[in-house]
Structure formats: structure tokens, C-alpha cells
Amino acid sequence: MSADQNGHSFETPPHERTWIDDPKNVDKIVYALYAVCALLFLIDPLIHKHGPFAIEYIWGFYALYGFVGCVFLVLAAKLMRVILMRPEDYYDK
């Protein structure tokens, strides 16, 4: 039994399973993502680039940059938690 913001309480209905609840289907989505990534990486030399920066012409620059950038982002943010994270009532004390 839970309640929404307006105080209406509601029953939690039994867990109805949908397509996406099946781990096999989640795997399918992940494999599709791998395939799309592989395809985008492989066609890179076919794309004619016009930009002024040499780095852009490295095979798969955008792909690698996006991947490495995001991993860096997450790891750095995780480290930030060590310094910055506080309990929720930190300012109420």
C-alpha cells in the first residue's frame, strides 16, 4: 500500500511481466547496440570530413572520443563523490 502526493492510496498490483522485463530481451537490445556501434565505426572511412582539425580524420575519432569521454566522465564523477557526497540532511543539522 503506498500513497501518491495527493494522499490517494493505491495497491501495488502484482508484477505484470512485459517484453522488456525478460533479461534475454534486454540482451537483445544490448547486442543491437553493439552491432550499430560496430557498423558506425566501420563506415567511418567512407565519410568525407571537411573540418579544419587533423584529429577529426583519425579513423573512428568521434566514436572513440565519445566512449573515452563518457568513461572518464563517470569515473571522475565517482571520485568526486568521495569528496562531495553528504547525507541528505547535511544542511539541516
Binding site: L40, K49, R86
Partner: protein, 564 residues
């Protein structure tokens, strides 16, 4: 005079009637009519400077319509309409009135042709908007609202100081290009920078917006910061310092967004990041870049409002917006889920969604002008925004693990507002030409070149790949019940201690001054009492004989002296 009224005033004056209207239906219909009427009126206005008023030797230009103010005015009116629709179910007239006065004053400021008119509307936005925070009616919202108000009004005071100096030096109050060579120019830049949430001046945004009401945050997200972007574009186009400022703005908030648990605060961080793109565009200052800023502000208002609407709907139905407590809501709120994904795809700049056709202009401008590091930073920020706004928001709210929470779908008016915003996001993404036609300069820009589409997809899909890999290996930081320190710590902890110490010092000093005054007064009183009191020497009554005696002595002395 009839066609010289600032469209913002239609909304502000109209808002004053809202509390008087009986019944939700009548009031709702009236509120919907206001932005529509203002828009119809705006469409009929000619370009140029109007509404001149002479006031104490100042010539105010209360209405300036040109391409830059028109595009911002248009999107502000659309945002007002969406905000009204989204809030139709709310019975609280305070929120409706404050929200409309706030939107009206932001629109008024956009069409202001001089600094005094700008200042007046600038302060009205500050004062009216705080009620949207306070309307949450809890102690933390009251405190956050107060902090917000101090900073917002402070920005206005700095603006006024700059304007006064500018007026004294040049004799003009026209709101035009400023430059940073003069003190006036620097002060006004700081005033704009506070409202634009420049790095280190930013934290009022993440502090206050997530504390506002469900509907209040949607309205707040549209106006204050984009008004500042407009003001910067008007006054500081091509100001080089804005490029590094904007680049930092795109990058640093996304680190906070990754570890933030309150999903509306995540959106506030990503709002900050999106403003960075616009500020970079203003700093570059070429026609392409300024068009990019205007276009990005237009698209951003829509998808950011859409994302705040979706998260607001979750908060409204579930009662919490903490990532650590949500998950699996797609079962209960399928439509909200779909609209949220559209907003997420738009902010991530997926091809065929609105962010793609606007952010590209700014990144291309940075490339074209040879800003290598800025370009790399913008690419990193683009990947990052997909990571935390594009994936994290819908994933942790609607998918991830099933939180077991079941609720109703969002109310119909919320769904309609989200549907309209989502339609704009897709419509502009698929067919950007009408937006491009609205921009301040002529554009010949093809967002959908093969090179562009593929490189953007590479960046985004590999960001998604990084998320997937980090999720599946358990490296991705989980959502935790927590808060993270930001610059507000400085005034909320050491600042508060400093204030407490200062207060103690004040009370000690006051005590000392009061005590010594009382002591002195007592001393004086006692001395007077001793001499003049009933027992005192001066207070005694003297017999007449004494006087006769002393008169004789004096006369005798005079006689003796005169003989000498």
C-alpha cells in the same frame, strides 16, 4: 499608443485579474487566452523602436521589436502557453498569478529597448519567480527561495549600478552592445552572468529550481536563464572571454549531474550545461554562432520544459523524484515515458530531434573559427549530456530495477502540454526551416549532411555503449540517497558560521555599549542626585539670614576695596 504596448505587459496586467476569476474552468480559459492574445498582438507589431516615454530626462524605449527580440519573445510566449496548460489542474491562484507575472516580465525584458526598462522587468522576474519556489510551502523551499531571491535581486542591483555608471559616462541608457572595457560594461556583464548561471555564480539554479512546485519548475526553467542569454547576445556578442566561460559551463555541471540523486536537480545541472553552448555561441559572435545561440535557446526551452514536465509528472504521481527510489514506472506512466524519451533524445541532439539542428550551428561555428580546445570541450559535453540527461533520466525513472511503485498516468492537461512540446521537438528536428527563418541572420546551413549525421551518431552511440558497459560491469555509480556539495556550501556552512560569529560580535558589542551607557547614566544621575537631590548641598533650603549675612560681607568687601 495602442500599438506601442510591450507584449509582456499584456501578460502581467492580465495576470492581476487571475485571482478574481471564479471557477477553475473560467480561470483556465482566461489564462490560456493571455499568451495567445499577446502572440497575436506581437505578430501585428512592426519592427522598430516604439513606446518612447520621457521620464526625468531619460528617454525610455519600452518596446523594441527586431529579429533577435522577436525570436526570443516568440519562444517565451510558447513557453508561457505550455506552462499554463501544464498547470491547469492546479487550484492555487498564487502560483498561476506569480507564474504569469514572471513570464510576462521576462517577455517585457526581451522587448525592452533601454537599460532602465530592462532593469524594471529584470527585478520583477526575480520577485515574482520566488513565489513559485515558496509555493511548495515547506521549510527547505522557504530557505532556498530566500537564498534565490537574495542572489536574483543582487543581480538587479549590480545591473543598476552598471547602468548608472554607464549613464553618467555616456549620457545614454540605450540597451545595445556594451563591451568589457569600462567598469559599467563589466558590472552589467556580471549582472547578466549571475542570471545566466556562469561557473561559480551558478548554484542558485541547482539550489532553487528543484525546490519549486511541480509546475513552478517547468516555468522557471524557461525564462530567467534564457533572458540572460538574450541580454548577453544583445550586449556582449563577440566578447572573447565568454568563450572559455561557456566552455567551462558546458563541461563541469555534467560531472555533478552523473552523481546527483534528485532527478530534477540533474536536469538543473544539464540546463546549466546547455546554457554553456549558448554562451560559447555569443562569445564567438559570428552570424552563424549567434544564430546558433538563438536557435539553441529556442529548442532548449522546449525540450528542457518537456523533461521538467515529465519529471514533474512523476513527482506529482509518485511523491518523490529521487533516482534511488524510482524505477520501472514505464508500466504505470507509458505516455510520460514516451514524452520523456523524446525530450531526452532532443537534448542529446539525436538526428531528427530539435537539439541536433540547433547545437550543430554552435559547434560548426567553433570549428570554423578554429577554436580547437573549445570544440573538443563541446564534443565532450555533447557526449556527456546524452549520458546523464539522455540516458540517466529516463532510465532511472522509468526503467532500471522495478521500484514496485504503481501510480496513475499523468493528468490529461499535463499529457497535452508534454505532447505539444514533444511535437515541437520532433517537428523542429525534422523540418528546421521555419526556425531558421526566424533567426537574426540569414542562414544557409544544412544540418543533415551525411558527415554530420554519421559523426553525431558515432559520438552518441558510443556514449550509450560506454553507459551499457559501465552498467553491466557494475562500475556505474548507483543512485544513492545523498546530496553533493556545490558552491552553495560556501554560504550555507562557513558563510552561516561567519554570520553567526558576526552576530555574536554584534550582540557582545551592543551589550558593552548598552552596559557602559547605563553605567555612565547612573553615575551622572547619582552625582546630580548627590548635589541637587533633597539631601544635596544645592538642594537645601537656605534661611534669609544667611543671604543678608553674605550681602553684608560682600558690601563690606566693596567698601574696603574702594578705600584701598
Amino acid at each position: 499608443m495602442t500599438n506601442e504596448l510591450n507584449p509582456g505587459l499584456i501578460i502581467i496586467l492580465g495576470a492581476l485579474l487571475v485571482p478574481l476569476l471564479p471557477g477553475r474552468v473560467l480561470r483556465g480559459a482566461y489564462m490560456l487566452l493571455l499568451p495567445i492574445a499577446a502572440f497575436a498582438y506581437l505578430m501585428g507589431l512592426p519592427m522598430g523602436e516604439m513606446g518612447q516615454i520621457e521620464l526625468m530626462n531619460l528617454s525610455l524605449v519600452t518596446l523594441r521589436v527586431d529579429k533577435l527580440s522577436f525570436v526570443f519573445g516568440t519562444i517565451f510566449l510558447i513557453a508561457t502557453l505550455l506552462g499554463v496548460i501544464y498547470a491547469l489542474h492546479v487550484g492555487d491562484w498564487v502560483q498561476h498569478t506569480a507564474g504569469l507575472i514572471y513570464s510576462g516580465s521576462a517577455i517585457g525584458a526581451v522587448f525592452a529597448g533601454d537599460f532602465v526598462t530592462l532593469f524594471i522587468f529584470w527585478e520583477i522576474t526575480a520577485i515574482s519567480s520566488v513565489f513559485l519556489v515558496w509555493a511548495s510551502r515547506n521549510s527547505s523551499a522557504m530557505a532556498a527561495g530566500l537564498r534565490y531571491l537574495v542572489i536574483q535581486v543582487g543581480s538587479g542591483v549590480i545591473l543598476l549600478a552598471g547602468v548608472l555608471i554607464h549613464y553618467q559616462q555616456t549620457g545614454s541608457i540605450a540597451f545595445g552592445a556594451m563591451g568589457t572595457e569600462t567598469l559599467a560594461g563589466q558590472l552589467i556583464l556580471i549582472a547578466f552572468g549571475i542570471k545566466c548561471a556562469f561557473p561559480l555564480l551558478h548554484n542558485w539554479l541547482q539550489d532553487a529550481y528543484p525546490q519549486a512546485t511541480v509546475t513552478g519548475t517547468v516555468i522557471l526553467s524557461a525564462f530567467t536563464t534564457k533572458l540572460a542569454v538574450y541580454a548577453l547576445a544583445r550586449g556582449y556578442a563577440g566578447t572573447e572571454i565568454l568563450i572559455p566561460i561557456g566552455a567551462v559551463m558546458t563541461a563541469f555541471p555534467i560531472f555533478f549531474a552523473v552523481i546527483e540523486n534528485d532527478l530534477r536537480r540533474v536536469l538543473a545541472y544539464s540546463l546549466n550545461n546547455q546554457l554553456g553552448f549558448m554562451v560559447v555561441g555569443i562569445g564567438i559572435g559570428t552570424e552563424l554562432a549567434l544564430n546558433g545561440t538563438a536557435a539553441h535557446a529556442f529548442c532548449h526551452i522546449l525540450y528542457k520544459a518537456l523533461l521538467f514536465m515529465a519529471m514533474g509528472a512523476v513527482l506529482y504521481r509518485v511523491g518523490t523524484i529521487k533516482g534511488s527510489e524510482l524505477g520501472g514506472l514505464y508500466r504505470s506512466m507509458p505516455w510520460t515515458t514516451v514524452f520523456c524519451i523524446v525530450g531526452a533524445a532532443s537534448i542529446s541532439a539525436f538526428p531528427l530531434f530539435s537539439g541536433f539542428i540547433s547545437k550543430s550551428l554552435i559547434i560548426s561555428a567553433a570549428m570554423k573559427e578554429g577554436y580547437y580546445w573549445v570544440w573538443l570541450t563541446l564534443l565532450f559535453a555533447s557526449a556527456g549530456v546524452f549520458h546523464h540527461s539522455g540516458i540517466k533520466i529516463p532510465y532511472f525513472a522509468f526503467f532500471a530495477h522495478d521500484s514496485g511503485k504503481r501510480c496513475e498516468e499523468a493528468p490529461m492537461n499535463m499529457l497535452i502540454a508534454m505532447a505539444i512540446a514533444a511535437a515541437f521537438c520532433i517537428g523542429l528536428g525534422v523540418y528546421p526551416d521555419p526556425l531558421y527563418a526566424l533567426l537574426p541572420y540569414e542562414v544557409k546551413y544544412d544540418a543533415y549532411s551525411l558527415e554530420h549525421v554519421v559523426t553525431q551518431l558515432q559520438l552518441l552511440m558510443f556514449s550509450a555503449l560506454a553507459f551499457t558497459v559501465l552498467m553491466r560491469t557494475g562500475i556505474y555509480p548507483p543512485e544513492l540517497k545523498s546530496i553533493n556539495l556545490d558552491t552553495d556550501w560556501f554560504y550555507r556552512v562557513p558563510g552561516r558560521h561567519l554570520a553567526q560569529v558576526a552576530n555574536q560580535f554584534r550582540s557582545i558589542t551592543w551589550q558593552w555599549v548598552a552596559d557602559s551607557t547605563v553605567k555612565l547614566a547612573t553615575k551622572v544621575h547619582n552625582a546630580l542626585y548627590r548635589h541637587h537631590g533633597p539631601e544635596g548641598w544645592f538642594g537645601r533650603s537656605w534661611p534669609t539670614g544667611t543671604m543678608a549675612f553674605w550681602t553684608t560681607v560682600t558690601l563690606g568687601a566693596v567698601v574696603i576695596l574702594s578705600y584701598l
